[in-house]
């Protein structure tokens, strides 16, 4: 809800949303969301299944067009900011018939902004030994790691992670924790949704709780556990 907006910050806003709404097949998946995230900050998005977390992340990533409201990224047009945004979502954006390396090279060859080394990104997520294997042969966890490799290659200023722990083993979960810390240390703005409240709260400054597509609560991430209804998963 609009009253959830924090006090205006003198810092540059990476995300500025006003009255953001999205309608799916006659039902409002997200309604009236006002959101400000300053550059370098991190925001944890919480909520039950179907509360609108994925819709919010996809709207911020410009993968969806808002049905109502306005969205500005880095103070300008959201779509113009696409090269500065990286997103890891349920849809992993991989081509099954290409190898891990070829998948990253496709992105590298089409991106208007130069990224880091493809091989270095694959090595960082532990996929260097499987770089030339076809993605079809990968497990769900390995596919997720490849998504992170794409993120590391792109070096985005705004990182959107939609349930990044899903499908990962404990080592993969620790990798995500470290990834978020590293991205934040590098100055990236991070917005991520998860059901693992404690884990997410330890990594983020602020949290927002969604319920039925509306912002129910927003505050310090440290207080998230209290408002999100105890430990989940």
């Amino acid at each position: 809800m609009s009253e959830a907006v924090l006090a205006p910050s003198p810092r540059v806003l990476a995300v500025s949303a006003r009255g953001l709404a999205r309608r799916h097949t006659g039902r409002w998946a997200l309604r009236g969301v006002d959101l400000d995230v300053a550059v370098g900050d991190s925001l944890l998005v919480l909520g039950a299944n179907g509360s609108g977390k994925t819709t919010l992340i996809r709207l911020l990533g410009t993968a969806l067009t808002p049905s109502a409201g306005t969205l500005k990224l880095f103070g300008g047009d959201a779509e113009a900011a696409r090269p500065r945004v990286g997103m890891v979502s349920h849809a992993d954006h991989h081509y099954d018939d290409l190898s891990a390396r070829e998948n990253l090279l496709v992105g590298a060859s089409l991106s208007p902004r130069p990224g880091s080394s493809v091989d270095a990104a694959l090595a960082a997520v532990g996929l260097d030994s499987r770089a030339n294997d076809i993605v079809r042969t990968f497990s769900a966890g390995m596919r997720k790691r490849l998504s992170f490799a794409r993120l590391l290659w792109k070096k985005p200023e705004l990182v959107l992670l939609d349930e990044p722990y899903a499908g990962l083993d404990p080592a993969g979960g620790r990798f995500v924790d470290q990834l978020v810390r590293d991205l934040r240390a590098a100055g990236s703005t991070v917005v991520f949704s998860t059901h693992q409240v404690e884990r997410g709260a330890a990594l983020c400054d602020e949290a927002v709780l969604l319920e039925a597509g509306r912002v129910k609560w927003r505050g310090n991430a440290a207080d998230a556990l209290e408002h999100a209804g105890g430990p989940q998963e």
Partner: protein, 227 residues
């Protein structure tokens, strides 16, 4: 320049994917071959009729094959949200269209060329104007099929029943190229003295068959207006 560079990269990616999944290409080729075979069975042993209609049968086979290959080219893009990934890079949508259309053209024209020997064997046609001329006509006709076909495949890719949506969408604009190309292909197969396809004839035939039986019923009794 950026558009051409991106277009070339989409084309390279698409051709690599087609090569990796060549079993699907083989399936499309077998479908085209079966279609040509079925037309020869449907016509019976009348070789004159087969020769006369050979060009039309090849275009029909290519049109039917294109409904499979075009839908497939966007199925792989939709599978894991890969197309969304391309757009979020961001890639120019025009580069995606041109890259995919050129890849589809190469596949369809290649299929058309591969079907020439089959057509020669089944329909007993000769190629008096030479194979390069025939390949040129097939390539141009395929381009006419692929240009709207890629657009329709992109539009129907998001449809829930995309396999059912592409053929009807293609049938609204796709046959234009084969209808125009049929005359050129017929001349390439039968020589330059072969008549062009008379575009006006099929409607007249339809009119004759459909309207002639009804015409007496429409005439006023006792000689009509002159009574």
């Amino acid at each position: 320049m950026e558009l051409i560079y991106q277009c070339a990269n989409v084309l390279r990616k698409d051709l690599l994917q087609q090569w990796r999944a060549r079993s699907r290409l083989v399936a499309v080729g077998v479908f085209g071959l079966t279609t040509l075979l079925l037309f020869s069975f449907a016509n019976g042993p009348d070789t004159v009729m087969l020769r006369a209609n050979a060009a039309g049968y090849l275009w029909l086979a290519l049109l039917l094959c294109s409904t499979l290959s075009l839908a497939e080219s966007f199925r792989v893009e939709m599978q894991n949200g890969a197309l969304e990934g391309l757009l979020l890079l961001p890639t120019d949508p025009r580069a995606i269209y041109y890259g995919k259309a050129i890849a589809n053209l190469l596949v369809l024209a290649g299929l058309g060329v591969a079907l020439i020997p089959v057509m020669v064997a089944l329909y007993d046609v000769s190629i008096p104007m030479g194979v390069p001329h025939l390949v040129g006509v097939i390539t141009l006709g395929s381009a006419g099929l692929v240009a709207p076909g890629t657009l329709y495949a992109a539009l129907s890719a998001r449809a829930r029943q995309r396999r059912a949506a592409t053929p009807p969408a293609l049938s609204t604009g796709g046959p234009g190229a084969p209808v125009v190309g049929q005359g050129h292909l017929a001349r390439a197969l039968r020589g330059s003295d072969a008549p062009d396809l008379e575009l006006a004839r099929p409607p007249h035939r339809v009119q004759r068959h459909l309207l002639e039986p009804v015409r007496p019923a429409l005439r006023p009794r006792g000689g009509g207006l002159t009574r």
